[in-house]
């Protein structure tokens, strides 16, 4: 009844259903980022990103009887379906819901990991990781160092969805990676596509250091590519040149790669050749690959969704300025979120869009 009345009122006024639209540039192509790469078996079924994560978790639990997966609402498959089927297959003592308490999840995971287990913890949204900040920063990150390597919690991996989705507002959109990059002892990894997500997640889970693994939730359903069904890992701390070019180097991670990729294609139409790098691991990051590229192109653009000030782009800009000062032909450009909380109706304004990137490419190339 109400539904019909509403709909009729809508028709009369000619309303468009426009919720969740991403009418700003650079919003279309999750899948466009994926390209075949060396080192990974080819083929496999085309799956989306949450399914790729799910596959990795199945493999992690299957290959290591001391692996555990837990977090809020993980039991029924998780609010993003990443843990579907795990509890049924591996049992409730290895895959389970936790109480609603992020500090508890992180602290519990650290203790579990310290006993020689693989603790794969989920924080439901990266926006809600802050109650766990003390455990992650003061405990997980320093466990090995403060004990002189008597103890470590290297089996710890914290998975958490991050980034914009078009309608997430303040608390379902943030990209808090830079906070964790500022903490020696943690690794920070962010995949750009399903195939990357599976290989990097398995590598993170098996890496003997605590890893915070941010999953681009905007791509969970949107990004689809062929993912090898078998167990494979992609190396951490290795950036990847996903497009070769000669005029400028673009660098990013996670969902932003899709935007950068589109900008590269548009720039090419204007005769600008961009080299695109996926950093993948933010800490410890692969300076050599970035440095080699910038030495070739003489220009660098960094782009991320997090606010520009104090973002990880600042660290990259500073390091490259140090290493490539003589070769830089223009200031390092940064195309990032603005310095405000993540806003709902202003999301299209806030975002580092394709056209913002394109403008910055042109300004840098013509500097």
């Amino acid at each position: 009844m109400a539904a019909r009345a509403l709909r009729e009122a809508g028709r009369r006024r000619g309303w468009a259903a426009e919720v969740g639209r991403r009418c700003f540039s650079g919003g279309s192509a999750g899948a466009a980022v994926a390209e075949p790469k060396e080192g990974v078996a080819e083929g496999g079924k085309a799956v989306n990103l949450f399914t790729a994560v799910n596959q990795a978790l199945h493999i992690a639990l299957d290959t290591d009887p001391r692996a555990y997966v837990f977090g809020e609402d993980v039991g029924f498959g998780g609010v993003f379906r990443c843990t579907t089927g795990l509890a049924d297959r591996f049992g409730k003592s290895r895959v389970f819901n936790t109480p609603l308490c992020e500090q508890g999840i992180a602290g519990f995971a650290i203790g579990l990991a310290a006993m020689g287990n693989r603790a794969i913890a989920e924080i439901q949204f990266a926006d809600y990781i802050f109650p766990a900040f003390d455990q992650i920063v003061n405990e997980a990150a320093k466990f090995r160092y403060r004990s002189g390597n008597e103890f470590n919690c290297g089996g710890l991996t914290i998975r958490t969805p991050y980034g914009a989705v078009g309608h997430g507002g303040h608390y379902h959109s943030q990209s808090p990676e830079a906070f964790f990059c500022h903490v020696p002892g943690l690794k920070v990894v962010i995949p750009r596509s399903p195939r990357e997500a599976k290989g990097l997640l398995l590598a993170s889970i098996r890496d003997p250091n605590p890893v915070v693994f941010f999953e681009p939730k905007w791509l969970y359903r949107l990004a689809v590519e062929e993912v090898p069904e078998e167990d494979y890992m992609l190396p951490l701390s290795q950036a990847e040149v996903i497009r070769k070019g000669s005029d400028i180097t673009l660098i990013g991670w996670g969902a932003q790669l899709a935007v950068l990729k589109e900008a590269c294609e548009d720039a090419a139409k204007d005769g600008v050749s961009c080299e695109l790098i996926d950093l993948k691991t933010l800490i410890p990051w692969d300076k050599e690959t970035v440095e080699a590229s910038v030495k070739k192109t003489g220009k660098l653009l960094v782009s991320h969704e997090a606010p520009i000030t104090g973002g990880f782009g600042a660290e990259i800009a500073a390091s490259i300025a140090e290493r490539c000062f003589q070769r830089l032909e223009a200031p390092v450009a940064r195309v990032c979120g603005v310095d405000t909380p993540f806003p709902l109706v202003y999301e299209p304004f806030y975002m580092p869009t394709k056209n913002k990137v394109l403008d910055a490419i042109k300004a840098t190339v013509n500097y």
């Binding site: 009345a5 509403l6 009122a9 919720v19 500090q103 304004f349 056209n355």
Partner: protein, 489 residues
């Protein structure tokens, strides 16, 4: 019952075991030992049958009696108790010590506190399932006028939920979350408060705001994030807030508002206001650290705050059995030194009476009160959720129909001859019409202007944001197609 029996049985076993063991000799030959200064012995020797030792450093600083005497006496006492002690501890009257924090007496038995009381704490109720007052029930009288307003607002909340939910389904708003099944909690608790009481909500309490006079138009403006939304379109739908109505703006992170409520309550007390703070939260929220911090702070600060837990059985897909193993939430008040009550959350009169009394105690006695309202989340968690994935449909149906708080309350109201079927249909017709109207107006209204993206980050716009605004304006001029047309630039 079984749990109680087990607890008793195990403590009897423990008692017997304790008697059979000989008293332990002091490992340090009776001399006060400097172990607390950092010798290799990490802890004082355990003495069976005595309570754990208090922290030594503190005792030493206070010039308390020596460790030796304390430990020695306990072992000797344990031995003595072995021979002549009646079941329940020391016969002598002087076996108690002023510990920091108060006098505590000793017992010879090694009694572990049981993990539960055995029987679940009972639940205060006024109306039975048929809307009749249970004989002997004591409750706060409500005038006909207030009673009717409560009913009308409960129905209004229900209709608002149905229509906004549908609007989300049609893609008109980006998100919604209903209070289905919790209408009595929302409205009756609000009715028992005064407008000067400060409300710190979670997100499933829009009825409190409705009761205070937030109009359907104001609700719609927030959900559409238009230029009349007090939150300036920055937050997701349902994140209402109103300074005028003493309702702090909703924040998505769970339980963060609880410590705020304690601070707000402390301020009310310092200002000698005739008001309290009330904060609402779910069963899931009680697991967060902020819940525990807030209860403890409130008790220690003697803050006039009412903690109102809506225990609706679910935190998204997580049932309370996987959230806590205590008997719900109310019991935890005691551990913090906070008075509490468990109430039937689907009984408007019980909720009203409990909040009324809690408020009076909080203000008059300067103390926190914990209320646990038992209820059921009849709707999905939100429009992002399908709860049939994790709970049985007939369970939902049962609560939606047989346990509906609105119909129960209506029976009582109609039993008083205060309400007729004709008035009912007129009310529903009117509210629906008003809502559809409010939605049309809200939808037609432009979004807040672009400039508001940069305001309110600080009280004044700093230079970095001024520069970002200028650059962004240039971008918008260059690429107008990238930006929504309904946001005035």
């Amino acid at each position: 019952m079984a749990a109680l029996w087990l607890a008793r049985a195990s403590s009897q076993l423990a008692r017997r075991a304790a008697r059979r063991l000989p008293p332990l000799p002091s490992r340090h030959g009776g001399e006060p030992s400097p172990w607390f200064l950092g010798s290799s012995v990490a802890a004082p020797p355990p003495v069976l049958g005595s309570p754990p030792l208090p922290p030594l450093e503190r005792i030493a600083r206070r010039g308390f009696c020596s460790v030796r005497r304390f430990a020695g006496e306990s072992s000797a006492a344990a031995a003595a108790a072995d021979e002549e002690e009646p079941e329940n501890g020391f016969a002598g009257g002087d076996q108690a010590i002023d510990f920091p924090g108060g006098k505590v007496s000793f017992v010879a038995e090694m009694n572990f506190l049981p993990e539960s009381h055995g029987e679940r704490i009972s639940c205060y109720r006024v109306l039975d399932d048929d809307g009749r007052t249970i004989s002997g029930s004591r409750f706060q009288e409500v005038s006909k006028e207030v009673a009717l307003k409560m009913y009308i607002e409960m129905v209004t909340l229900q209709i608002m939920d149905n229509i906004f939910y549908e609007a989300q389904r049609q893609g008109r708003i980006s998100f919604y979350l209903t209070s289905n099944g919790e209408e009595a909690i929302n409205i009756a608790s609000a009715a028992a408060l005064s407008i000067d009481d400060i409300v710190l909500p979670q997100y499933r309490e829009p009825g409190v705001l409705l009761w205070r006079g937030f109009t359907l138009q104001e609700f719609a403006n927030q959900c559409f994030g238009n230029s009349m939304d007090y939150g300036k379109g920055r937050q997701m739908p349902i994140h209402y807030g109103s300074n005028r109505l003493n309702y702090f703006t909703v924040s998505s992170p769970i339980a963060t508002q609880l410590p705020h409520a304690v601070g707000a309550a402390y301020s009310l007390k310092m200002d000698k206001k005739d008001a309290c703070a009330i904060t609402y939260f779910g069963d899931g929220g009680t697991s967060e650290g902020d819940f525990h911090a807030a209860l403890n702070f409130a008790a220690v600060m003697d803050a006039p705050v009412v903690f109102f837990c809506r225990n609706n059985g679910w935190a998204i897909s997580t049932p309370t059995t996987e959230q806590f193993r205590s008997d719900g939430v109310v019991i935890r008040g005691q551990a913090y030194g906070i008075r509490g009550i468990r109430v039937d959350g689907n009984d408007a009169l019980a909720v009203y009476s409990a909040v009324h009394a809690a408020r009076e105690m909080a203000i008059a006695e300067g103390r926190p009160i914990l209320i646990e309202a038992l209820t059921y989340r009849v709707g999905h968690h939100s429009t992002s959720d399908d709860s049939t994935k994790y709970r049985p449909v007939d369970e939902i149906e049962h609560w939606r129909t047989a346990r509906d708080p609105i119909s129960r309350y209506r029976k009582w109201v109609q039993g008083n001859d205060w309400w007729s079927d004709a008035e009912e249909s007129e009310l529903r017709r009117r509210v629906r019409k008003e809502l559809l109207q409010a939605i049309q107006v809200a939808e037609r209204m432009p979004k807040p202007p672009f400039a508001e993206l940069f305001t309110d980050v600080y009280d004044q716009i700093p230079s970095n944001l001024r520069e970002q605004e200028r650059l962004l304006r240039e971008t918008i001029m260059k690429h107008p197609a990238d930006y929504p047309t309904d946001v005035p630039v």
